[in-house]
């Protein structure tokens, strides 16, 4: 349970991305102090809360939907958030994580765990075992967030500049729909 608060609640989530969008979010610098006065950040890679809260006003999602775990999280985010924003090119287009989509998963595994693996020295190492325990299965394609859940707003960019994130947040808090292509674009 979250403490009742008058301030809008915000969550940020990191799916299949490089965390660059979150770095850009931290690049808000001193504006983070202002933001802390405007919203309550309930869940994020930069706060302690591990479980996604029951109810959030706004969720920013970084990263493509690549594994079954990503999909599971995306569905929870949608069910519990009033507004979902795809933050950055991976969430918006698939971007770099989706570059694996041109290949079969078996080829990817072979590349990662056999071809690029260190030269085996022991019989144990020579026995190629793909990790299956404790890792989420990879979906056939890494996809944009809006291919699996309804997304309300999109902020493209790799990563979106801090100024663009600030513009997005302040526009949403003011009750307006941000015109995100005026502040960022694919690949920015």
């Amino acid at each position: 349970m979250t403490t009742p608060t008058a301030k809008p609640t915000v969550a940020t989530v990191w799916l299949d991305g490089c965390s660059g969008c979150h770095m850009s979010f931290l690049d808000l610098d001193e504006r983070l102090i202002t933001l802390a006065g405007l919203v309550d950040v309930l869940h994020s890679p930069v706060v302690d809360q591990k479980q996604f809260p029951q109810q959030v006003d706004l969720t920013l999602v970084e990263g493509a939907v690549s594994s079954e775990e990503d999909l599971h999280k995306a569905l929870i985010i949608r069910a519990r958030s009033k507004l979902v924003v795809a933050l950055g090119d991976c969430a918006v287009t698939g971007n770099v994580p989706a570059m694996r989509n041109y290949f079969d998963r078996s080829d990817l595994f072979a590349r990662a765990y056999v071809e690029n693996a260190q030269e085996p020295t022991t019989p144990e190492e020579r026995r190629v075992v793909l990790p299956v325990l404790g890792v989420p299965p990879l979906r056939p394609h890494a996809t944009a967030l809006h291919e699996v859940i309804k997304v309300d707003m999109f902020l493209p960019g790799c990563p979106p500049p801090a100024d663009a994130i600030w513009y997005l947040l302040t526009e949403i808090l003011a009750g307006r729909t941000p015109a995100t292509t005026t502040v960022s674009r694919f690949g920015k």
């Binding site: 795809a86 090119d89 918006v92 287009t93 698939g94 971007n95 770099v96 989706a98 570059m99 989509n101 041109y102 290949f103 394609h141 996809t143 944009a144 809006h146 291919e147 997304v151 707003m153 999109f154 902020l155 493209p156 790799c158 015109a179 995100t180 292509t181 674009r185 694919f186 690949g187 920015k188």
Partner: protein, 243 residues
């Protein structure tokens, strides 16, 4: 070419976006609109090359015709009433550019033309913040066989500017198109590796005229590839000035 022109019979008046304009006989809607500061988006059109009419971004509405017409390929006639902006046209233009993004692998963030790409700029211009169509993720090749230039089919939008500049300006006609629909692709000579082409003069016009990161100089990293298209009007002018 330099014969005196009878202004009264050789000029045409028409209306574009509620603006009365006049032009010479034979001019296209796109030319006249641009001469009068009316912007119509294009990707395949290039002044100095023959009209291709392939990208369909310059579609306009002409009063009295239910069909949309490509402004680049429509010659002005007396009394035409043209709209270059409408919700219907904006919807189609947006759809076209989104389909271009979905058709091949345009990964802007790792593209050598990031920040200098006409497709990317067009997305911004049309307010495209995401693509509503499913990406196809085709497996396409990068032709690295030429010692100075590179062809990345992942980034190609098949505008054919390279084909036309090669055939019409350089006169080599090394490049052409094979296949149809999503299987269409730029080829060199008889679908050989670029580096093995016996007709390519390595002039580099195709690289400079390519709107995206499909044709680039080798050795360029992300965002480093800038294009120079200023040579084309100059060459065309020189050619026209020849007796």
């Amino acid at each position: 070419m330099n014969t005196p022109v009878d202004i009264a019979t050789e000029s045409i008046t028409l209306r574009i976006d509620d603006k009365d304009v006049s032009c010479r006989k034979g001019e296209t809607v796109l030319q006249v609109a641009r001469e009068n500061g009316i912007d119509i988006p294009t990707l395949c059109y290039m002044e100095g090359l023959t009209v291709w009419g392939g990208c369909r971004l310059c579609m306009v509405e002409i009063a009295g015709s239910p069909k949309l017409q490509a402004a680049c390929a429509t010659v002005c006639t007396e009394g035409m009433i043209i709209s270059t902006q409408s919700p219907r046209l904006e919807n189609y233009r947006r759809m076209i550019v989104e389909l271009l993004f979905a058709e091949r692998n345009h990964v802007c963030s790792v593209c050598v033309s990031n920040g200098h790409c006409e497709l990317q700029t067009m997305a911004v211009k049309l307010g495209i913040d995401h693509v509503r169509f499913a990406y196809r993720f085709p497996h396409l090749e990068v032709d690295n066989s030429h010692d100075r230039m590179r062809m990345d089919h992942n980034r190609c939008i098949l505008c054919t500017r390279c084909v036309r500049v090669c055939a019409e300006i350089e006169g080599a006609h090394t490049k052409d198109i094979k296949g149809r629909g999503v299987l269409a692709a730029i080829i060199h000579d008889l679908d050989q590796n670029w580096g093995e082409s016996s007709t390519c003069t390595s002039c580099g016009k195709c690289v400079n005229i390519c709107p995206t990161g499909a044709l680039t100089h080798r050795g360029t990293a992300v965002g480093e590839m800038t294009k120079k298209t200023t040579f084309l009007p100059y060459l065309t002018l020189m050619r026209e000035a020849q007796p």
